[in-house]
Homo-oligomer: 364 residues x 2
């Protein structure tokens, strides 16, 4: 079995990310040292139905308790967190227990925050089952739940002791979610690795068909890039900001269209195009970047335009800016060429406004 | 103004503990670097009435929001935590905010857990106002709230950026609470520092009268000892266990008598005596340790016997043991002489039973 291992270099909290096929049924080999015999699996009904049984048999010999949370971001809240804590107490878990997340980003965030705060922190293992979780949310130690007043407002930086990325599980992922995950892979190419970008261009069909070797390669490179950035800046003081390429526009788009209209990765796809055009208008990026990026995103079936009806004024407002803002106040991650980005907070407002107008209606 | 500074050596998270007089009115000098202008003070009505105004004027120029939680351990719960999070969100605090704990251990635990988990961690400063919090709970990064099924079951290890110990605030502390705090100071002498023990013996009256220099010295040594232990074992894997000297018996006593009958420090005082007698029965500690310890505890007005009615059987049960336990299963911290302890899990059950019988009624 071919497997790649990426290490996240965080000193005493260094941990491996295993990438291969059929890792769930062999989970015991990859959990890392466990102090006790108790494991709490956090999952949701959809994933449990698909992969619960495989994990159940892999964990034979352990006392495993299963916590099913409802599907979806709306349930990543304080109430579910509180229920999960009650569940762990009721099942008499202690400081030697291991919390195991089996699911996408929502499950990973919830399980991670529970692991971070149950008895001041217990072991934590991630088995991400969406491409987005595999290349993004399961790497870097961000855990959180939502507050009614804002997403991810309550949480902790807490690193797992290992991450098991079993690429075969992506076969059951809806095509639209798979494509949305690919947007983040494209992002890694755009911010750090022109070779990864070119590799994706050359392997569009293999990626779409989930060829095992090709898929393992792009996931492994994505994790490597994110791991290196996280190792350099665990708590988001500096360079980690480059991971937000496409996200300033992307979040504004999600905000204006309402969360759920576009998937996060879809909004990021459009956001990356907007950032690239903005950069080009500032004379930073050459003209050939935009069409290359658009072509690749289109090849994966990702959106390259805003949903109709979105206006420049709404987007500006969502970014906390308005027409009176003469100079830039918020910082953008802008590309120079494929594989190279900078943090830019000094820019002509006109270039931003023109970019918005190009993608949406004019600022009214 | 004479001031001592003890550093807790935790690498990048190294932080100072300042010990002196009138530090509250000069708080601005000791907060450490603040990124933003927002501060959230967590306190309770009693402390707020006594010291709120001093801190309020010290923080002139900052946008300070005050969160008053009810007095007492019973309110260190999930509900108060949730209210505190709502409060921080409603007052629009962000990642650059600083949470400042003004109060005893309950306030410190609550504020610390909030700081650890608000937006994945914000700055945190402790101003402990009880002797117990000054020498124990404010040092070491333990933060937590209680779960209905157990104390401190939800929490995090999270270090403050500084601790301000203003010894003058102890003048308003009830005498019984002050004495209970001294029990923990005696503990530091017992586990690590015969000189500190002798110093306390020689300065009983000055300590009772809260002589500023003497008080500063014993607090400084206590913090130094705890800081060194914490630096060697932040997350309680090993040596940090020695801080539990007197606590295995102490917790059992609190458990049997009901929390609130004895103050924690009072239970620890009796627990240290029981541990010393147990050690003596095992032939580990010389006979002269017990009377020396008892004399010092008595001088501070601390209890040296169990409340009447407590039985050996109840204590054993509270420690999770019973008469059928032939050999030791739980680990005790036992003294060899004043200033030296070991972790002991191999001992004759008879010696434990005799110790319990000596302090309580016979095992029935």
């Amino acid at each position: 079995m071919t497997m790649d291992t990426v290490f996240v270099e965080l000193g005493a909290r260094r941990y491996p990310i295993y990438i291969g096929q059929n890792l769930i049924e062999n989970a015991l080999n990859y959990l890392g040292p466990l102090d006790g015999q108790q494991i709490a699996v956090v999952t949701n009904p959809t994933v449990n139905k698909l992969y619960g049984e495989r994990l159940r048999s892999a964990l034979d010999g352990f006392a495993v308790d299963w916590f099913e949370m409802e599907d979806g971001e709306a349930h990543k809240n304080f109430q579910t967190y509180s229920q999960l804590m009650d569940f762990l107490m009721a099942a008499r878990h202690n400081r030697t227990t291991c919390v195991l997340a089996l699911g996408g980003g929502v499950v990973g965030d919830m399980a991670g925050f529970a692991a971070a705060t149950f008895q001041r922190g217990v072991k934590f293992v991630q088995i991400p089952t969406t491409l987005l979780a595999q290349v993004d949310s399961s790497v870097g130690g961000k855990t959180a739940v939502n507050h009614p007043a804002g997403k991810n407002m309550i949480g902790a930086f807490y690193q797992p002791q290992s991450v098991l990325i079993s690429t075969d599980v992506l076969q059951t992922l809806p095509a639209r979610e798979y494509a949305a995950g690919l947007a983040e892979v494209v992002k890694y190419g755009m911010i750090e690795d022109p070779k990864l970008f070119d590799y994706m261009v050359e392997h569009v069909d293999a990626i779409k068909n989930q060829n095992a070797d090709v898929l393992r390669h792009v996931i492994q490179r994505s994790c490597e890039i994110k791991a290196a950035v996280v190792a350099a800046d665990e708590r988001e003081g500096g360079v980690r900001a480059i991971l937000n390429f496409g996200h300033t526009f992307g979040h504004a788009i999600e905000n204006v269209t309402g969360y759920g209209t576009l998937l996060h990765g879809e909004a990021v796809a459009v956001g990356m195009l907007m950032a690239t055009r903005f950069s080009q208008r500032l004379g930073r990026a050459p003209q050939n970047v935009f069409p290359k990026l658009r072509e690749l995103l289109e090849a994966f079936g990702l959106p390259t335009r805003l949903p109709s009806g979105v206006t420049s004024a709404e987007l500006l407002d969502a970014m906390g800016m308005d027409k009176k803002t003469v100079d830039g106040q918020i910082r953008f991650v802008l590309g120079r060429e494929i594989g190279q980005v900078d943090l830019v907070s000094d820019y002509a407002f006109d270039a931003l406004a023109s970019t918005l107008d190009e993608f949406a209606g004019p600022t009214s």
